[in-house]
């Protein structure tokens, strides 16, 4: 016995075709889904699971929330959180305005525009590991380039990476140098997208170049700034490679450079404490999530 309304044959064929087509494309996407499941979803869940165990890689014992309790009660963890935020904050605070000013200047010139773009963007395409190794010598307190320049100009020199009080500023210099090209290119893209009519209208109203920059350019850059702040925070909170080169997993001297990811590395691979390392990873994930949501709300970025 047939129930319900019977569909016309041509509608059924069309639906079958559509299902077949959809299935084909899902089959096409299957390798990607498998890759995501194996290399992203599984490690994330495994890390979350491990955070409740005392694990040396092979022997596991359930310890509940003990790892979180141990991590949160340790000065080394909060020191790593402080270092991570400190470096990321000052990198963003300096690199975005400087990058924007440079981009505005490049945008105004007619000749050698591409030369400047390439010049500033070159550090960004350099491996951060190689850049950090070079900066080891640039920041060398006795014969390093920066101290040599400061000394020549009659300015006070710094021990940079050899003193816990200044080491973070050595890293901030490196990260600004490395990231500023990216900031400039992103800012330039937006600057070139601002309608020239706005400037023409303001010129008729008698606005100066500075007033145009202040009241037209900057407000139109809000979305770009929000994008740079969010991306900068996310990458800043995951900082590891340059820290590892400059101060090792322990963030020498005196843990002054140790970031959260470096601490994860130290605890995980420096002493086979995979449970502790996983607990820090989960905490880092929560911090990044919280900060990203907060940044999106504050900057009103539309995703």
């Amino acid at each position: 016995m047939k129930t319900g309304v019977e569909m016309p044959a041509n509608v059924q064929t069309r639906r079958n075709k559509s299902i077949k087509s959809t299935l084909s494309w899902y089959v096409f996407l299957l390798p990607t889904f498998l890759g995501v499941a194996c290399f992203i979803v599984y490690p994330v869940f495994e890390s979350f699971r491990l955070s409740f165990y005392n694990s040396n890689g092979t022997i596991e014992t359930w310890v509940g929330l003990t790892n979180y309790q141990r991590v949160l009660s340790q000065g080394a963890f909060w020191n790593a959180v402080y270092n991570t935020f400190y470096i990321a904050f000052f990198q963003l605070l300096l690199a975005i305005p400087i990058g924007f000013i440079l981009a505005s200047m490049i945008n105004r010139i007619n000749r050698f525009k591409s030369v400047f773009k390439v010049m500033f963007f070159l550090p960004n395409v350099t491996s951060i590991v190689a850049a950090a190794m070079i900066f080891m010598f640039v920041l060398q307190p006795e014969v390093g380039l920066i101290n040599h320049v400061l000394d020549t100009l009659g300015l006070p020199t710094s021990p940079w990476l050899s003193d816990p009080g200044t080491s973070k500023w050595g890293v901030i210099l490196l990260t600004i140098w490395h990231w500023i090209g990216f900031v400039i290119i992103i800012c330039l893209a937006n600057l070139q997208a601002i309608s020239p009519e706005l400037y023409e209208a303001s010129e008729i109203d008698g606005a100066t170049g500075f007033q145009q920059w202040l009241f037209i350019t900057i407000p139109n850059m809000a979305g770009t700034f929000a994008f740079l702040i969010i991306m900068g925070w996310i990458s800043g909170l995951q900082r590891f490679q340059e820290i590892f080169v400059l101060g090792g997993a322990g963030g020498s001297p005196g843990r002054s450079l140790q970031t959260m990811v470096a601490l994860i590395y130290e605890r995980g691979f420096g002493g086979f404490e995979f449970g502790i390392a996983s607990a820090i990873t989960v905490l880092l994930f929560l911090i990044i999530l919280l900060f990203t949501v907060l940044n999106i709300k504050l900057t009103r970025l539309k995703l």
């Binding site: 021990p159 050899s162 003193d163 816990p164 400059l246 001297p253 005196g254 691979f269 086979f272």
Partner: protein, 443 residues
């Protein structure tokens, strides 16, 4: 072709194209695991094929020679080498052993792996074969003894393969220019400090800035401090299993050691804390008189530059029993999951043979671990190797059990704090002791 089927056809075609790439390639180095009878995991600069050293122009025969020799001695057997860099060797080894990717592992971190129950105890093999452990230099077998998860006493889970030792080295030319007596063969901390102080400042002959002493203020700081402590008659602590370990990081001798290091920091380049400032060490333009906590890697550049007469080697600081400094090097161990344990044992025995030890030394510059090496012409030609080989025999054994765990990182951070003036000596050591002890109790 039916356009509707295009995605499926493309997927199949892509898979067929990719599949051969995933299969083992015949003749490719370290890629024949499925077909191998025995796989050896090694760490370092070794190569399977012949190579030429870019510094010394020395031509090295690759590990293919070892493969041919072992297969000649064991007809029908196939061995392969998987060679990984020193960089990240701990996680790499952990990954390999977790995946049962080799039978024999070069394993400088044997304590950690044996404690996880991942290694095969070697004592039954030694007894069954009546294998003579006295072929190895004194102290080396004992140095690698450790505990498995069920052991009450130290056991043999690995046997030495690459030698290494810590020593003090000095620049004879700078000593002469400053008119300072050379270091004695077994210098005390006081002797080193006194001589270092005399050679800091403007060199009386060249007029160049010289530094009396150097130790890197990063990475190995904790080990350097521990050796200074041994020079003052102290001991890192007692016990080998975590539940029995008691640390002496805040002992009187450790305080003396850290005070000495702080005083010596005035006679070093300012950037020593960051592991810099010794760029000219072991070169003709060297400006540092003494360097402590040195390792075997120094020999190659010294001999390549014909500076062997200029940079003599003396022993590290020793305690009243003549023992001191970190025991180092690498042993071979058999993975618990190996399917070819008997053959793996044969390879470990082979690794102590004159052939293999000579091969490692003469082709790749690795310090031999067998006693008979001192008789080899190639060793005798290099006079500096005599004190280096001696240094292997008077290190603290078994290894400092905390050297690859949190207490080392904690001690390092606190010592760096003291050396950079953010912590007082007493505060640094008190915090190091308290944090390390707390870590041991809560692990």
């Amino acid at each position: 072709m039916d356009v509707k089927r295009l995605p499926v056809v493309c997927l199949v075609a892509t898979s067929l194209l990719l599949l051969p790439g995933c299969l083992p390639q015949e003749g490719e180095e370290g890629n024949q695991l499925e077909e191998s009878d025995l796989t050896i995991a090694m760490i370092g600069e070794f190569k399977f094929q012949d190579t030429t050293d870019p510094i010394t122009a020395h031509k090295s025969t690759g590990f293919h020679a070892v493969k041919e020799e072992f297969e000649r001695l064991h007809p029908g057997v196939t061995i392969d080498f998987v060679i990984m860099p020193w960089n990240n060797y701990v996680p790499n080894t952990q990954a390999m052993i977790a995946g049962s990717q080799a039978d024999v592992y070069q394993m400088p971190g044997v304590n950690d792996f044996a404690a996880q129950g991942l290694l095969e105890p070697l004592q039954p093999y030694i007894e069954e074969d009546a294998f003579d452990l006295s072929v190895y230099h004194d102290n080396l077998v004992e140095g690698w003894m450790t505990f498995g998860p069920e052991d009450d006493d130290l056991q043999i889970y690995s046997l030495p393969v690459l030698g290494d030792g810590r020593f003090i080295q000095y620049d004879k030319e700078l000593f002469e220019q400053w008119g300072v007596e050379p270091l004695s063969d077994y210098p005390t901390v006081e002797e080193v400090m006194e001589k270092a102080k005399q050679m800091t400042g403007e060199n009386p002959v060249t007029g160049e800035q010289n530094y009396g002493i150097y130790f890197a203020g990063t990475h190995d700081t904790a080990l350097t401090a521990t050796n200074f402590m041994e020079g003052f008659g102290g001991e890192w602590g007692t016990g080998q299993r975590w539940e029995e370990i008691e640390l002496n990081f805040d002992s009187e001798e450790m305080e003396q050691a850290l005070h000495a290091m702080m005083e010596l920091s005035h006679y070093m380049p300012r950037s020593f804390v960051n592991g810099q400032g010794n760029d000219r060490w072991l070169t003709p333009s060297n400006n540092i008189a003494i360097s402590v906590n040195q390792g075997n890697g120094n020999m190659k550049p010294i001999y390549a530059q014909e500076l062997e007469d200029r940079f003599p080697v003396v022993q590290t600081f020793k305690n009243a029993e003549g023992v001191g400094s970190m025991f180092s090097g690498s042993p071979f161990a058999i993975g618990e999951t190996s399917q070819n344990k008997d053959l793996a044992w044969e390879f470990i025995k082979f690794s102590s043979s004159e052939y293999f030890q000579r091969f490692l030394w003469e082709e790749w510059g690795s310090t031999p671990v067998i006693k008979e090496a001192v008789e080899w012409e190639s060793i005798q030609e290099m006079e500096l190797m005599t004190p280096v080989l001696e240094a292997m025999t008077n290190a603290v054994t078994p290894r400092y059990p905390w050297a690859s765990s949190q207490p080392r990182y904690i001690l390092q951070a606190k010592i760096e704090g003291a050396l950079t003036g953010t912590l007082s000596v007493e505060q640094a050591l008190k915090e190091a002791q308290a944090e390390s002890t707390e870590w041991i109790h809560s692990r």
